[in-house]
């Protein structure tokens, strides 16, 4: 197989509050022989909030990020569900609206850039599954996660709206019965547990504005995984990770029950199965202690 190569859009969180996500992404990419060219010029995607304030500005900034991936002639790979949604949505809107694309390009021209629409955008989870291949992951597993019940937590923005995300996923994900993360857990030798909340919202985006709603959603998600006998949870989204890992106190109060489980990034789970060390994967950076390795 030709070596896989992507333009890596890190988003902000991997550079700040989830350093372990950046570490584990790089460690796993190296193990898999995937080359990542970091888009160091990229700006924040707006995380769905800049879009509420100034939609046009968010379009211009996201188009600029994609334009840099295009300059490299590479598919952009994201490592955050919300970055994935905002970037893919920008691409969709510009590719389907010539007038809007021209308006955005008039702005990009001011800094010598052009959005062409030539680069695809995918999330690292789907790069691993669709491009690298689960069978090959299976072959490379050196430390199967066979003693663990693992609860997949998908995060909203990779699976909904499915029409948009299925433009990038080669095997369409069903938002009511998503399978990618379950399949990945199995490929890593773990046991995937099923629970109702696995495709529900963690509440992250309303944490400041609607703290009770957000806390109840977090609590329900962790409680669902605990009731399904999970040893830990795994998510492809650093924002879900932050919510589920750091906010369990508020969540417990909100739902009137103590909830807490280790929550691993998808990359950390794959890294463990591939034989990376806990230090390489940054497992010491979690607030809810990862005490099984």
């Amino acid at each position: 197989m030709e070596k896989l190569k992507y333009a890596l859009f890190t988003g902000c969180t991997a550079k700040e509050s989830t350093p372990e996500q950046m570490m584990s992404t790089l460690a796993v990419a190296e193990k898999l022989g995937i080359e990542l060219v970091e888009l160091t010029e990229a700006s924040c995607c707006g995380a769905s909030h800049l879009q509420d304030y100034d939609d046009f500005l968010s379009l211009v900034l996201n188009a600029r990020n994609i334009a840099y991936a295009e300059k490299h002639g590479l598919t952009m790979v994201t490592i955050c569900n919300t970055c994935q949604l905002n970037t893919a949505m920008t691409k969709h809107r510009l590719d389907h609206n010539a007038e809007l694309k021209a308006k955005v390009n008039a702005k990009l021209a001011e800094v010598g850039l052009e959005y062409k629409g030539t680069s695809q955008i995918t999330h690292f989870l789907y790069a691993i599954i669709d491009d690298f291949g689960l069978d090959k992951i299976k072959e490379m597993v050196v430390k199967p996660l066979s003693q663990f019940n693992i609860a997949p937590f998908y995060g909203c923005h990779n699976i909904r709206p499915s029409e948009l995300q299925n433009e990038t996923h080669k095997s369409p994900e069903n938002p009511y019965r998503p399978t990618s993360l379950d399949d990945l857990i199995i490929a890593c030798g773990g046991l995937n547990v099923d629970y109702e909340e696995k495709n529900k919202c963690c509440g992250f985006h309303a944490e400041l504005q609607a703290p009770r709603t957000a806390a109840v959603l977090t609590g329900n998600a962790v409680a669902g995984a605990m009731d399904a006998n999970a040893d830990w949870m795994v998510t492809p989204c650093p924002l879900c990770h932050l919510k589920l890992d750091t906010q369990t106190h508020h969540a417990s109060v909100a739902i009137g029950r103590d909830v807490s489980l280790p929550v691993l990034h998808m990359q950390q789970m794959v890294g463990l199965a591939l034989g990376c060390t806990p230090a390489e994967l940054g497992l010491n950076h979690h607030v809810t202690k990862v005490d099984f390795v």
């Binding site: 550079k15 350093p19 160091t40 700006s43 304030y53 046009f56 500005l57 009511y176 529900k200 750091t246």
Partner: protein, 325 residues
């Protein structure tokens, strides 16, 4: 003639009669279904062939009246429009048939939609315009202006999005995706005079657009492709454009992104929380922040990373900004 494909399916159907039952229960029916049948056909067959007391709503049978919305294995659907074989593809051969909201069911699959209609009424779902008692011409809208509605007028008030919305479920004040789509539909109508009044309603904390958790479920579930979250985003934008955004944690949270991006290219996560909450409000986040700090999850201001080519980003923020706060 084509031979009909059939499959045996087990239906677990929610049953509850508030006049006689303390608690709901489920009845199980096993039927052979054909690839031509929709969910409503099965409800009819259960009622006509097995149990005449089963209650559900149906009227148009053409996906336009919206009354037949129910949940199949957790997914809200229009019973008259949804093919059984599609549901089997997704959920397998055991399907759970439930009302849109089990909490609000009073007879089997029939729910009390009072909260839905109250919220619909709350956003003034009608045109407010001076009425000419003796018009000489119709009050026409150009195709270009009609496009601004973004098909929000396709909503059939089925409630599928409303009763799938986690914010509606948790916060009883939250107006909800269907009513927001309606608010947008009228606020975006060029003939309407009550846009600003309506924007004030959707701008209120707890009930308004700021309490949306952005789960995208409403966009996913809507059988008419109304895409309510898109309209919610538009309402956010309109609140800022109309210059009626209040200076509170919700609006500052959105505006804070623009400030941060202009300064660093990236989001300064710590500063965003402080900016959104204010110097006093931020104190409630200190316990979590300390735990995160201990785990190397907080970047101190002097270590804040910056995007390369920041000058480019600054220039674009300056030249492309369309709103002020």
């Amino acid at each position: 003639m084509d031979t009909l494909k059939t499959q045996q399916v087990t239906f677990k159907v929610f049953r509850f009669n508030e006049e006689t039952d303390y608690l709901p229960y489920y009845n199980t029916y096993t039927l052979d279904v054909t690839h031509e049948e929709v969910v409503l056909d099965i409800l009819n067959r259960i009622k006509w062939e097995h149990d005449g007391s089963l209650s559900y709503r149906r009227s148009c049978r053409h996906g336009i009246c919206g009354v037949c919305a129910i949940k199949v294995s957790g997914k809200a659907v229009l019973a008259c429009k949804t093919r059984l074989f599609d549901m089997i593809d997704v959920f397998g051969n055991e399907l759970v048939i439930e009302p849109l909201s089990t909490k609000r069911a009073f007879k089997d699959l029939v729910v009390d939609k009072k909260d839905f209609w109250d919220k619909h009424a709350q956003i003034k779902p009608y045109l407010e315009a001076p009425i000419d008692e003796h018009p000489v011409t119709e009050n026409l809208v150009s195709p270009h202006d009609a496009e601004k509605l973004l098909e929000a007028d396709y909503c059939i008030q089925c409630g599928a999005c409303h009763y799938s919305c986690p914010s509606v479920e948790i916060n009883e004040l939250y107006i909800g995706p269907a009513a927001f789509a309606a608010a947008y539909r009228f606020a975006a109508d060029v003939r309407d005079d009550a846009s600003v009044e309506r924007l004030h309603i959707v701008n209120e904390e707890a009930q308004g657009v700021w309490d949306c958790v952005k789960c995208m479920e409403c966009a996913q579930v809507c059988p008419k492709e109304v895409n309510p979250i898109e309209k919610i985003t538009k309402l956010h934008n309109m609140v800022f454009e109309a210059n009626i955004a209040k200076n509170n944690v919700a609006t500052r949270h959105a505006v804070g992104f623009a400030h941060s991006i202009e300064k660093h290219g990236l989001l300064d996560e710590g500063e965003l929380v402080r900016y959104s909450e204010g110097n006093i409000g931020v104190l409630k986040h200190v316990p979590v922040a300390l735990k995160m700090f201990a785990k190397g999850k907080i970047v101190l201001p002097w270590n804040m990373p910056k995007a390369d080519k920041l000058d480019e980003i600054k220039k674009l923020v300056k030249s492309s900004s369309t709103v002020k706060f």
